[in-house]
């Protein structure tokens, strides 16, 4: 190995540590915000491409299941889907915005609209980057909603952007309750495959379809925000506490427009 290599290695290692230090001190935030701002137009372009990719794969998935039912019908669906992929994307976006708007009009909560500008590309953490930050009055720990459904909370923010930890991340823990009985439990993420409600007393009956809402035990996430519904019971009768899989009320893989609950 040449001395040039060791020089570069030392310089870049020092630069990384310096950047980490500057980031921790908060002195790098203007640069980070500017970078996110610069990246925003590209994000929209890439998101368009992403939607097309999703539609493309979704399209094959739907064709596969329809083929099982009827080959003729699947061909028809395929040709229709090919023609309408772009139209469907606009429609979908429109519906999401409409639902978001309807919810905003029907609630007294102080919500700030946000656009998802990036997600963690490596998948090591279930996080999203939003286009709003401290300048909009939001704080760390604030709840993040999609169409009135809790999807995560703010874990980090700078002046113009913020990062959301989704409820599906295994490190996410939220106090939740059953809407019908008010019995509380802890909602934990389980990588990509949804969320789990644990620590529920054995005295309570957990039924499929029961609504799960926030328990409101902390200041920043108020009581009664919908999270999802109970799916399957994971614990056994002899267990001290019950655990059940919860299906989020919105598709967390397709989040584009969110709202942050300002306290």
């Amino acid at each position: 190995m040449s001395s040039k290599f060791f020089t570069y290695f030392t310089v870049l290692l020092a630069a990384t540590l310096l950047l980490t230090f500057l980031h921790i001190k908060g002195w790098l935030r203007p640069v980070e915000s500017s970078t996110s701002e610069v990246a925003r137009p590209f994000v929209y372009v890439f998101r368009g491409a992403g939607n097309f990719t999703r539609s493309f794969f979704g399209f094959f998935g739907s064709v596969s299941s329809l083929t099982k039912q009827s080959a003729a019908l699947s061909n028809e669906v395929r040709s229709l889907q090919e023609q309408n992929v772009a139209l469907q994307q606009y429609q979908l976006e429109n519906e999401i915005l409409k639902k978001e708007l309807n919810y905003r009009q029907s609630t007294n909560l102080d919500l700030v609209s946000a656009d998802v500008i990036a997600k963690d590309p490596t998948g090591f953490s279930q996080t999203l980057t939003l286009d709003i930050g401290a300048n909009q009055g939001i704080k760390e720990g604030d709840a993040v909603l999609a169409q009135g459904v809790l999807v995560g909370k703010i874990i980090f923010l700078d002046q113009f952007t913020s990062k959301v930890l989704l409820i599906t991340d295994p490190q996410s823990k939220i106090d939740a309750a059953l809407a019908a009985s008010g019995q509380t439990g802890v909602l934990e993420g389980s990588f990509g495959s949804g969320v789990v409600l644990s620590d529920v007393s054995q005295n309570v009956a957990l039924n499929q379809g029961d609504a799960v809402v926030t328990a409101g035990l902390t200041d920043q996430i108020p009581k009664g925000i919908l999270i999802g519904t109970i799916d399957t019971l994971q614990s056994k009768k002899q267990d001290l506490l019950q655990t059940a899989a919860v299906v989020p009320a919105v598709d967390l893989k397709r989040l584009e427009f969110l709202a942050v609950l300002r306290k």
């Binding site: 190995m1 290599f5 950047l19 980490t20 491409a49 963690d120 980090f156 990509g192």
Partner: protein, 171 residues
């Protein structure tokens, strides 16, 4: 200078591809930037891979929720280690089998290092959130599988870059 623009352009494209990659169960995803940096580290030609690892890591750090600098640090260390190992123990070009082994070991070491840096960050109160150890149950292994599949197109991207850089008009 032009070659750095080319590398940076490739990193942006690879990051975009990672961002639009369909979301799979358990958060499984290939890491194109990691593959790109590793292939340059295995080429044993110049220390260019250090710049690729540095800027690639910074891009990942900017858009992830982990400790800032952790991806950069992990990528620089792993690429340097692999470049040192291949430069010391292999004089000829690496075979596909050896490259695959290096990719696999490199990715595992990268994830472990990333996890440790974030764990240290949490213990030192530098961050309030850490990568879940559950990634080692299935995600990392499925990631590896995807990385080995996507290593082929990323390798050809590096070959394509070399061809562009070899052209006199580009120099």
């Amino acid at each position: 200078m032009k070659k750095f623009f080319l590398y940076f352009f490739c990193l942006i494209i690879l990051f975009a591809l990672n961002s639009v990659f369909p979301q799979l169960p358990r958060g499984v995803a290939p890491n194109f930037i990691f593959l790109f940096a590793i292939f340059y580290a295995l080429k044993k030609q110049t220390p260019d891979f250090l710049w690729i690892a540095f800027f690639g890591g910074l891009i990942l750090d900017l858009f992830s929720g982990n400790l800032f600098g952790s991806y950069t640090l992990a990528l620089i260390c792993i690429c340097s280690l692999l470049a040192y190992a291949t430069g010391t123990f292999f004089t000829a070009d690496l075979s596909i089998e050896i490259t695959s082994i290096f990719l696999t070991l490199g990715y595992l070491a990268f994830v472990i290092l990333l996890f440790l840096i974030n764990w240290l960050g949490l213990k030192s109160n530098l961050i309030g959130y850490q990568i879940s150890p559950k990634i080692f149950e299935t995600k990392v292994w499925l990631d590896l599988f995807l990385n080995l599949i996507f290593a082929v197109p990323v390798y050809y991207l590096t070959v394509f870059n070399d061809k562009i850089l070899a052209k006199k008009a580009f120099k």
